[in-house]
């Protein structure tokens, strides 16, 4: 009579509308200008990073402030694949994910030794060390950085087909390709997280976040779960980093390992949107983009405002904007929480 | 001096007290007995502000104190010996005592010296970390720590818990001297005999409610039995 379910009506709407959205997004470059495609690329990559960070901190309790390490190493590995190995840039992107995965092993080894809040700064230290080491890599431009060679950017796999399909110039075709890849990545990451949360592992993850001791006592292998989440998140972050710098085609340690761009902004997106939900980062990235567009001319005031908004949200609406919406009308577009359904119990409290 | 009116308390969804009324007069010794989980400690935590209340649920000298913080309530002269003693592990015995008196400095019978006279063993162990003591000695520190503020009302939550009978006797021997100092005492106890021997009045609690109020000298065994277990003896 009673059933454990994650089903909601809004969830069903999402299940139907998500494919429509994705198809529309795929077709968009046919009508949208290059500027719009670039903006959407930015939004999608930030959303990917936000979903990943949310998985780490919001679901896994792993508050990393060092995600820029994986963005940077992913981007640099892609550049290394192209410049040093002569690979096609698109094919070099997985190299970025692999490099980040490899870097995540020693990172986790060190950072997991630090308790609670010190974990956060521990990841930051590793990111700094990685940045400083990469800045010594003279073949990729050392501290000043380098660009993708002209031959490589002009022969990216798939751009020829896009050029003939939409009648675009080479640089614009590259943007479209990057946009599609970003779309694929964000769908894969969001879908993957959604699947993970609805699987048995999702429950285990919640147990880990809320109370490691209790989780251990009910037989969840918290150590392995934390490792798995951290490594997967690193690999996905590395892929995103590679993709972002494929689109810019220019890299430097300062840009690739920027704590502001790849961690601070990402954290603000998640906090403002709503930590611990899949909807939160989606809403957050839209707010973030709107703020960024509105305040773009005000230089550092913009980042200051963003930081303060995040503080205010944490103080007065710790579940973020999505939390406010969900508590008003119980909306769950990505229902991952288990709820008991069945006839109403009479006389309950 | 202290009254509760329809005092309720919740832990999240769970209601632990359902409208408790008790009174304690100045200088009086009141025992509160009841089985495990009856809500005795919860009552103590509510009176001392560890659990928040509505203002009017607890009155001290006629003034509502239910919504005050535990620090404010303590400064009004209501000190507690918490369940499980809860000494500060990084403080020595002497520092544990001093910390009990540092926020409320009023004239009264209790000082470091008189507490050491009450429990002489503590003077010998004054430099040890509080948690390096035996259970009985720790209980003495916890009582001494509460006395250091010269309270009008001393709340003692199960001061005999887990202690050997001889130690319990020593600790109970201190209670008359504490009363001579002028403090009223609320004794939460499982050990009914011990409690009745020193108390003027007794409250019995069961499942978050007061089931019996009586003068300690007049109460009959059967009365307590039915109030304690909810069945007639």
């Amino acid at each position: 009579m009673y059933r454990m379910t994650t089903h909601t009506r809004a969830g069903a709407v999402t299940a139907i509308s998500a494919p429509i959205f994705i198809v529309a997004a795929l077709a968009l470059p046919a009508v949208a200008s290059r500027g719009v495609v670039q903006d959407l690329f930015f939004i999608l990559t930030m959303l990917t990073l936000a979903q990943i960070w949310n998985l780490l901190a919001g679901y896994g309790g792993l508050v990393s402030v060092g995600q820029q390490a994986f963005v940077g190493i992913g981007a640099y590995a892609m550049f290394a694949g192209v410049i040093l190995l002569g690979w096609n840039p698109v094919l070099a992107i997985p190299l970025g994910g692999l490099a980040a995965l490899v870097l995540a092993v020693p990172t986790a080894f060190f950072a997991f030794r630090l308790q609670g809040a010190y974990f956060a700064i521990g990841t930051w230290v590793i990111a700094e060390v990685t940045r400083l080491l990469v800045a010594q890599w003279k073949a990729l431009g050392g501290g000043t950085g380098t660009s993708l060679p002209r031959e490589a950017t002009s022969s990216i796999l798939g751009t020829d087909a896009i050029r003939t399909l939409f009648g675009l110039r080479e640089a614009a075709a590259r943007d479209v390709l990057a946009y599609w890849l970003a779309l694929a990545l964000v769908v894969a990451v969001t879908g993957g997280i959604y699947w993970l949360l609805r699987s048995r592992l999702g429950l285990a993850l919640a147990a880990v976040r809320d109370n490691v001791d209790a989780a251990q006592s009910v037989g969840v292998d918290t150590g392995r779960l934390r490792w798995a989440v951290f490594l997967i998140a690193a690999a996905a972050t590395g892929l995103t980093g590679a993709l972002v710098f494929l689109q810019t085609a220019r890299i430097s340690p300062g840009a690739a390992f920027a704590v502001t761009d790849w961690t601070a902004n990402v954290i603000f997106i998640v906090v403002i949107g709503g930590i611990g939900t899949i909807e939160g980062p989606i809403l957050g990235v839209l707010v973030f983009f709107a703020l960024r567009s509105a305040l773009a001319d005000y230089g550092s005031w913009y980042l200051m405002t963003l930081g303060l908004i995040a503080v205010v949200v944490m103080l007065f609406a710790p579940k973020g904007l999505w939390g406010l919406i969900a508590s008003r009308n119980g909306l769950h577009l990505f229902p991952a929480r288990r709820r008991l359904t069945g006839p109403k119990i009479e006389g309950g409290i | 001096m202290l009254e509760t009116h329809g005092l309720t308390a919740n832990y999240g969804q769970f209601r632990a007290l359902f409208g408790v009324d008790i009174t304690v007069a100045a200088g009086e010794c009141v025992a509160i007995i009841g089985a495990n989980g009856a809500g005795k400690s919860t009552l103590m935590r509510s009176i001392t502000g560890v659990l928040g209340n509505e203002p009017g649920m607890v009155l001290h000298r006629g003034e509502p104190i239910g919504a005050l913080s535990s620090a404010e309530i303590m400064k009004r002269g209501i000190a507690m010996v918490p369940e499980g003693r809860r000494l500060f592990p990084s403080l020595t015995v002497e520092e544990n005592l001093l910390v009990g008196g540092q926020a409320r400095k009023v004239p009264g019978p209790w000082s470091l010296d008189t507490v050491y006279d009450l429990f002489p063993i503590l003077r010998e162990r004054r430099k040890s970390p509080g948690t390096a003591l035996s259970g009985g000695q720790q209980q003495m520190v916890a009582i001494g720590r509460a006395l250091m503020s010269n309270p009008e009302l001393l709340l003692c939550d199960e001061i005999s818990l887990g202690l050997a009978p001889v130690i319990i006797r020593d600790i109970y021997a201190a209670l008359p001297r504490i009363r001579e100092g002028g403090a009223a005492i609320v004794l939460v106890e499982q050990d009914i005999g011990k409690a009745l021997a020193v108390a003027d009045r007794v409250y019995c609690m069961m499942e978050g409610r007061v089931t019996l109020v009586a003068k300690a000298a007049e109460v009959a065994r059967e009365q307590i039995h039915s109030a304690y277990f909810g069945v007639a003896a």
Partner: protein, 287 residues
Amino acid sequence: MIWLDILVQGILLGGLYALFAAGLSLVFGIMRLVNLAHGDLIILAAYLVLMGVTLLGLSPWIAALVAVPVMFALGWLLQAAVLNRVLGKDILPPLLVTFGLSVALQNGLLEVFSADSRRIPVGALEGASLDLGLVTVGIMPLMTFASAIVMIIGLNGLFYHTALGRAFRATSDDAVTAGLMGIEPKRIFAIATGIAMVVVTLAALYLGMRANFDPSIGPARLIYAFEAVIIGGLGSLWGTLAGGIIIGVAQTFGAALNPEWQILAGHIAFLAVMLLKPRGLFPRAVD
């Protein structure tokens, strides 16, 4: 001989890092809060001292003295109005709030003071040095180190020999029971953060007198402070000094080999200690 010189420079540099770290360690010890804005608050204090010197014409020492109550009040307010609201079992809210503050502070400073490097002028003291026979040491590094030692002695005295220190330790052990002793934990936290900001001002004074600073260098100071605290083992200020010295020595040796390796060498020393002694060099017996 050159190596001895480098070693001594490194040890003295460790004094500066201990100054960075002491405030962080104090706050963590009492309320288990890691303030990610710590480095940016050091930079803020440095600008405050600088303004006292340039706008009011004070000597750096007097300017720091003036900045001390301002920073104490700022720390007190920050704790009372913001951080006390988010302290709790969940470590996420305080981390995210202080991270937001860090970014806001850094960019606010950038907007007000620009990205130009500044320095607190100290006149003749700046280049002065003392010949100790085997090595020559700068007066300024020597004073930094001496200040670090005095500060640690002072903080330990406060901690272990005053009623306030007792309240700090009691609250750190068990805030609920401290409340039953008439101690208001939130007030204690506010005072603790205020005191941490006093230490921060001292750190800022030496930071600003010894080297150039600009609004962007706060996070790196946070990291050095953090490394010193972790190397030392949580809970011991002398351990923190030892941690600072290890990073300082590693940095000066790294720089002697190749100027680009200075910072990296410090971080690597930290990672090496983490590898060999995960709980730091002087861990507290009870945690």
